[in-house]
Symmetry: C2
Subunit: 166 residues, 2 copies
């Protein structure tokens, strides 16, 4: 049971996009450079986030990605779902219907206790992630970042963010 | 993010072992036949359950598996952990330490907000499964099984369970 590393990358990338000034965007390449991860794989995560409607892309000379909405409107489950999909982690194959004592399909309209318990656990997992807004993560980053590092980040953003002409 | 199908098999197998009369056991082959799944793969799950101390094996002519303890002392997380291991599903690679603005190792003694949130979600997932005892699953199976099916199961157990000579 593993969460793809792309989820970690996408979450950190969203946190960085959330720090951009209005009208600014970052290319997938810049996001990859910032996190020192392979650009092609970062680009793949950004495309998944875009398909899920969490970020939007701007084409052209000032192209790049920015959040589609405010950091208050994106939670950690949204990001996880964008990358991992929404299929339950427990896939019930209805083995209770198999074999010499298999239950009939008619008697299996409700999930069995085992499947129902995994679905409930999955809901608990998702609920925890839904509670965490991108804005909460930003607050925490702000608290944890030293003043010198804030300055380094500001300079990096100035050099790498593309600004849409207003 | 997928839970291996072996977890489903192991959970159903444990529920069946929980129905055995005292002193009786079932071979991995019988457990595989009961659930109509490949014997080699069922045997693999049973070995994992045995290594985790949830079931014990009896060798010899009356060999087979039985629960190591009562159905009140085994929960669904125990079974999941036996098959999937206890590594967290979110693997933090500390990408916050990477790149041109990477935080120093000293400033990363606590998990970042993203990793901490996934760990909390994982705890919620595990807590839900820990609440579900094998005895709860048995009660639910008893409620859901038609009288004719109970009789079929009783006959199957009579024919397939090995009894240790007392």
């Amino acid at each position: 049971m593993k969460i793809a590393s792309g989820v970690e990358w996408a979450a950190h990338a969203c946190a960085l996009l959330a720090m951009l000034p209005k009208g600014a965007s970052l290319s997938a390449e810049a996001l990859a450079n910032y996190h020192d991860v392979p650009p092609a794989y970062m680009a793949k995560q950004m495309q998944a986030l875009r398909r899920a409607g969490l970020i939007v892309s701007q084409r052209g000379a000032v192209g790049g990605y920015r959040l589609a909405t405010t950091p208050n409107d994106i939670n950690l489950w949204d990001i996880t779902e964008a990358i991992e999909g929404s299929a339950p982690s427990f896939k019930c194959t209805e083995i209770r219907q198999n074999g010499p004592c298999g239950a009939t399909k008619e008697n299996c309209k409700k999930p069995c206790g085992i499947a129902a318990s995994f679905y409930a656990a999955e809901q608990a997992f998702r609920s925890e992630l839904k509670k965490v807004l991108l804005s909460d993560l930003l607050m925490q980053i702000a608290r944890d970042t030293k003043p010198d590092d804030v300055e380094t980040l500001r300079q990096w953003l100035n050099e790498n963010a593309a600004l849409t002409p207003s």
